[in-house]
């Protein structure tokens, strides 16, 4: 599903002295079946933006088009289930949404709300628990007996179980150890390869460089940059404006370019960096 934002403005607590602008006239297109990363400082409107995609928030003005549905300020709260079934959302610290007495029931909760039969939901739960890298024996345990990282995986499994076409991830790896982070990010990349749209909010620029196809840069409720990771990280205006930081490889390349190395374009992944260095050393 393609997602299109058309002049979307969102004001919190409209008509009130406490009002604040979450989104300011945002127009952007998120491509189908691609891995899109949304980056920007804390409070730049990233979460507000993605909450519009499954109508948890509605635009104050403008419209959001998700597949064949259009969400405007007049959109009714009824009949949103088909939309939410297609747009899975993993919130920040999703482990806080677990509540059932077993892991299995918790994973089945979403699919069954969306009308899946109990047997299908059960088999889906069995598939998903393995997909997120946990053993089937965990299905019988209480989610509150698990470790933080395991709870996170169960929560992600619960979102994936209803088989959404679009998956929105709000910092899914915050607070995970490096190995866990790599596993989880690898899983999302794999899901994208299988034909799903992934939207990722993150502060980790290495993840952006390694996994994303497209990047959207936000600042003060506006979109200030768009493009491939390589385009965005080479954008002089964004860098000097302090609106983003570079991935480690690019920072290293910047330091190298002060000594005798020359890069036409900053290499943003470890692979790109090592190829470049190899070429330049051999070419000398």
């Amino acid at each position: 599903m393609e997602i299109i934002f058309k002049n979307v403005t969102h004001a919190y607590e409209a008509n009130n002295p406490l009002a604040s602008l979450g989104l300011d006239d945002v127009s952007v297109k998120i491509s189908d079946k691609k891995f899109t990363a949304i980056i920007g400082k804390t409070g730049s409107g990233k979460s507000t933006l993605v909450h519009h995609i499954n109508a948890l928030l509605k635009p104050t003005s403008g419209s959001v088009i998700v597949g064949d549905r259009t969400i405007t300020s007049e959109t009714n709260n009824k009949n949103l289930k088909p939309l939410r079934k297609n747009v899975g959302m993993v919130f920040q610290f999703p482990e806080s949404q677990l509540f059932e007495d077993t892991v299995e029931k918790d994973i089945m909760f979403g699919p069954m709300n969306f009308g899946m039969s109990e047997e299908d939901a059960k088999s889906s739960a069995h598939d998903m628990i393995e997909l997120v890298g946990l053993d089937e024996k965990y299905l019988e345990q209480s989610p509150f007996d698990l470790s933080g990282g395991q709870m996170r995986r169960v929560a992600i499994a619960g979102v994936l179980a209803s088989n959404p076409e679009t998956i929105i991830l709000d910092e899914p790896t915050a607070g995970l150890d490096p190995v866990g982070r790599k596993e989880i990010m690898g899983l999302f990349k794999k899901l994208q390869m299988q034909g799903r749209t992934i939207i990722l909010i993150t502060h980790n620029m290495d993840d952006v460089a390694d996994y994303a196809d497209d990047v959207i840069v936000m600042h003060d409720g506006k979109i200030v940059g768009e493009g491939t990771p390589s385009e965005v990280f080479n954008d002089e205006k964004l860098l000097t404006g302090g609106m983003l930081t570079l991935p480690q490889s690019a920072r290293f390349a910047q330091r190298l370019s002060q000594k005798r190395f020359k890069f036409d374009k900053l290499p943003i992944t470890l692979d790109e960096l090592s190829t470049e260095i190899k070429q330049q050393i051999n070419g000398d």
Binding site: E13, N16, P17, L18, H51, N54, L56, K78, K81, R84, K85, V87, G88, M89, F91, Q92, P94, S96, Q97, L98, F99, F109, G110, N113, F114, F144, G158, V159, S162
Partner: protein, 265 residues
């Protein structure tokens, strides 16, 4: 829930904001007490003028005030109508079974209406201009004499200030969990009563669980920073009673005097 302003704090800067919170707290309760002294049109009018003047002094937009209290209006209307139709009278204008409409009933219900407005206005003015932490500080300082009868004032004050501090956090957590469950296909406020009540289980359990973990973390953090109990602590936030607070107290006494005069007039 977002529309009601009763109990919320609105950042600002004016004379009312600067008053000592203890004084403000006591004055508000005192005022609610003397509202019941009023017994005729002139005295109610006088109190209403005074409250409007206080709102004016706070520099809070009167329109914002009225709009924020609109949800309370139905409660007031309900009480007023009950009073209006159930006041027995010797000379009813209209009579139907137990329902009576009379001049006395109308006058009494008008008084009740004004009383409600006065009380809601001053208490809203207190919470809009005083931060929760100031309120809990003033409760602690007002309750201090109760220490003499072994009432655990410091513990109560600590619990109160922690509770107040965590109200917005728990509200945020609630919205977050609600959103997460909505994204998993829960419909809140749909279906029959039983279904509606059931739909709150996926919010309440995570909320309790996270409250437990917050409480546990907070207790550990407090202990590791050297907290033993309330005894023998010094205070960082000192409340200061100034000239303007004395003036405010004197104004209240003057108002009581005037009110007593109008009352017996």
């Amino acid at each position: 829930m977002n529309k009601l302003i009763l109990g919320r704090y609105l950042p600002g800067d004016s004379l009312i904001y600067k008053l000592d919170p203890r004084g403000k707290f006591l004055i508000t309760f005192y005022f609610i007490g003397i509202v019941f002294l009023a017994n005729n049109v002139a005295s109610y009018g006088f109190l209403l003028l005074f409250v409007l003047f206080a709102v004016y002094l706070s520099k809070i937009n009167l329109g914002f005030f009225l709009k924020g209290l609109r949800p309370m209006f139905w409660l007031i209307l309900f009480t007023v109508l009950l009073q209006m139709f159930f006041t027995p009278s010797e000379h009813p204008i209209w009579n139907f079974g137990v329902l009576t409409l009379s001049k006395e009933g109308m006058v009494i219900s008008a008084y009740i209406f004004v009383r409600f407005v006065l009380i809601i206005f001053v208490s809203t003015l207190l919470t809009l201009t005083t931060t929760p932490i100031e309120i809990s500080d003033s409760i602690e300082s007002i309750l201090k004499p109760l220490k003499a009868i072994k009432f655990p004032v410091t513990q109560i004050a600590l619990m109160l200030s922690i509770a107040l501090r965590f109200v917005p956090l728990l509200i945020d957590e609630t919205t977050k969990i609600m959103d997460a469950q909505r994204a998993r296909g829960v419909d809140f406020g749909e279906g029959g009563l039983i279904k509606r009540i059931k739909s709150f289980v996926p919010i309440l359990i995570p909320l309790f669980v996270s409250s437990f973990s917050i409480a546990y973390d907070l207790a550990i953090a407090m202990e590791s920073r050297g907290y033993r109990d309330g005894e023998g602590r010094s205070k960082y936030r000192m409340l200061k009673w100034e000239m303007r607070d004395t003036v405010a107290a004197i104004v209240m006494i003057v108002i009581t005097g005037i009110l007593l005069m109008i009352r017996s007039y």
